[in-house]
């Protein structure tokens, strides 16, 4: 469903060119749970951002359901992100002025016509991640793990084909991290949602159906569970 072909990414820091991704090709199948692992600076987050249409490759192509989406304008990419993708950030990334419930249904509000439609879905998702009793709380009133579960519910609200999670457990203690990973695993198994997550924690491998490892911007190992 999602494919990148010969993708490279070079960042410019003043006059210095820093290669982040080097001629990477990858195909993500529908319903799989892919784990991208690697050391810090190996290019895993860059790869995830390119897959998630948040960034564009310097070279190479990105295909979604056979369509080249790598060079689309931001307006079209935004529409694709809204309709087909969900994103979970490392740093919770909830909007501070919105309650947990509002954070969850905000992307749905961009798509739905009737308030009841997205509100009910958001409540169901918050219930599914175990935060029904926290839905009227602002992000600052939630723990890190709770915020990350709200972010997962938000990523799910538009029934995306694929969810990207960039080191979702990095800022959490082991118990909260496990809880978040189990939530993602549960979504993958029960909703058949494709999930691509980045992790540097070897323990997270067990949730993945496939693991790839990056080093210096190249895929060095592919392993199917």
């Amino acid at each position: 469903m999602l494919k990148i072909k010969n993708a490279s990414k070079i960042y410019k820091l003043g006059d210095v060119e820093v290669p982040a991704l080097n001629n990477v090709s990858l195909f993500i199948e529908e319903g799989e749970m892919l784990c991208i692992m690697g050391r810090s600076g190996s290019g895993k987050s860059t790869l995830l951002r390119i897959l998630g249409l948040i960034d564009s490759p310097t070279k190479g192509k990105v295909y979604l359901s056979g369509k080249d989406v790598g060079r689309l304008k931001e307006k079209q990419r935004s529409k694709i992100r809204l309709e087909t993708m969900g994103y979970v950030f490392q740093e919770y990334a909830l909007l501070s002025e919105l309650t947990a419930l509002e954070n969850v249904y905000l992307p749905a509000k961009m798509l739905s016509r009737w308030p009841g439609e997205y509100r009910d879905r958001a409540v169901t998702l918050l219930d599914a991640v175990g935060l029904l009793n926290r839905m009227k709380h602002l992000p600052r009133q939630l723990s890190g793990g709770q915020q990350q579960r709200v972010a997962i519910a938000r990523a799910m609200v538009n029934k995306p084909q694929i969810i990207f999670a960039d080191e979702p457990t990095a800022n959490l203690d082991s118990k909260a991290g496990k809880n978040v990973m189990e939530t993602l695993y549960w979504l993958n198994k029960n909703y058949k949602t494709t999930i691509v997550f980045v992790s540097h924690d070897e323990a997270d491998k067990k949730y993945a159906s496939r693991v790839i490892r990056l080093l210096d911007g190249r895929i060095i190992k592919r392993k199917t569970a």
């Binding site: 998630g52 935004s78 529409k79 992100r81 950030f89 990334a93 909007l95 919105l98 798509l111």
Partner: protein
């Protein structure tokens, strides 16, 4: 578009309701100050212009002056005056003839215009008879009597603008000598001294038209001043007089405004400049408020964009917030202006050489100012939010 607006409205409401109350207060407070200032300056200048204009009308010209077109005098003036008086909306008509003269008492001399008037009708058009500071105004049977403006008599009022050129210490009952250009010299007793607080009219002197007739054996009318009811236009009354068929020309009070018009035109320009400066202050304030807020929210906006919220909805949300600030600000500003500033100024009006100045509120202007303020505030909010949207999502979320 509807969904963008719906989301923008949602985000704007949350931005206002859950962001810093200090920020909201500062933005609204600035709008209130600017809006009150705009209305105050404009109303004060309007009040000033109105005071000057009403002085001009009530002491110098009336609503308009009827003059002969191809001769020195108005033929058949008595009939014409009666006809004008019968026109709907005319509330006063009086005739006059003016001649320059030199007035003297002892060593003091002063050049002045002496108007020969009809004391019975003069008060129907002009307020001068009510503004006597000494003695009384002329009666139609007064002989050898003169009424002087304070700027001519001096009357020991040294604060007068033209006191040094006046007769300085002339009072009621004093005798003054008038030298007419024809060589006739006559002594008059001062019957009264008036102060209109409008120095052009306070330079006048009056004798009765019968007195003039006795001196010059001439009773022809040189000009007729007409006063109209408040809601009657000058053009209507002039058209009606034209129908009477005389060979006449007309000068409205605006045409006779002279220095007053130049003065009021300057004030209008000053008013516009001050208004523009006030709007600029409001626009810069909203710009700064939005800009500072956006610096802190750059990452948050990056996240909004990453999860698929359109740039348009995000920009609109800041525009709507500015709209909210100006709506509340102008509403509070209107209340402060109408219910606090105006009543206080009415109780303690400003005093200028032309009299008291009252704030002249104009609801149309208030609406226009609110509209201009709103528009500039929205533009000031849209510019920084649009610039923030131009930053890449990567830089917005993970950049410095």
């Amino acid at each position: 578009m509807f969904r963008n607006f719906k989301v923008a409205n949602f985000l704007a409401r949350k931005l206002v309701a859950r962001s810093s109350w200090g920020l909201n207060f500062m933005a609204i407070f600035m709008i209130v100050i600017v809006y009150v200032n705009m209305n105050f300056t404009s109303s004060l200048l309007s009040g000033f212009i109105s005071t000057v204009n009403s002085k001009l009308i009530s002491t110098q010209t009336g609503n308009f002056i009827v003059l002969p077109k191809n001769s020195e005098y108005i033929e058949g003036s008595e009939v014409l005056i009666d006809d004008i008086r019968n026109i709907n909306g005319v509330i006063g008509v009086t005739e006059s003839k003016t001649i320059p003269a030199e007035l003297s008492r002892g060593q003091e001399k002063s050049l002045a215009e002496i108007s020969a008037i009809n004391p019975n009708t003069y008060g129907d058009v002009f307020s001068t008879p009510k503004n006597m500071i000494e003695g009384s105004f002329l009666d139609s049977d007064d002989k050898d009597m003169i009424v002087l403006g304070a700027q001519i008599a001096g009357a020991d009022i040294s604060r007068l603008e033209l006191y040094s050129d006046s007769l300085k210490n002339v009072h009621v009952g004093d005798k003054i000598t008038v030298d007419y250009p024809s060589g006739i010299k006559k002594e008059y007793t001062v019957k009264g001294i008036f102060l209109n607080e409008f120095f052009e009219s306070d330079l006048k002197s009056f004798i009765t038209k019968d007195e003039y007739k006795n001196v010059f054996a001439d009773s022809k009318t040189e000009s007729i001043n007409v006063k109209l009811d408040k809601d009657v236009s000058e053009s209507y009354a002039i058209d009606e007089i034209k129908k009477l068929g005389n060979d006449l020309q007309f000068r409205t009070w605006q045409e006779r405004a002279g220095f007053v018009r130049g003065f009021t035109d300057t004030l209008k320009v000053v008013n516009r400049i001050l208004g523009f400066a006030a709007i600029l202050v409001a626009a810069v304030t909203i710009f700064i408020v939005t800009y500072v807020d956006l610096i802190n929210k750059k990452r948050q906006i990056g996240i909004e964009r990453a999860i698929g919220i359109s740039s348009l909805a995000i920009i609109l949300s800041y525009g709507l917030r500015a709209l909210f600030y100006t709506f509340i600000g102008t509403a509070i500003g209107s209340a402060v202006f109408m219910f606090i500033v105006v009543p206080i100024e009415r109780a303690y009006p400003f005093k200028i050489p032309y009299g008291k100045v009252y704030l002249q509120t104009n609801f149309r202007n208030m609406l226009i100012y609110a509209g201009i303020l709103t528009l500039s505030a929205i533009i000031s909010a849209l510019i920084p939010s649009w610039r923030t949207i131009k930053i890449s999502i990567i830089d917005a979320i993970w950049g410095n």
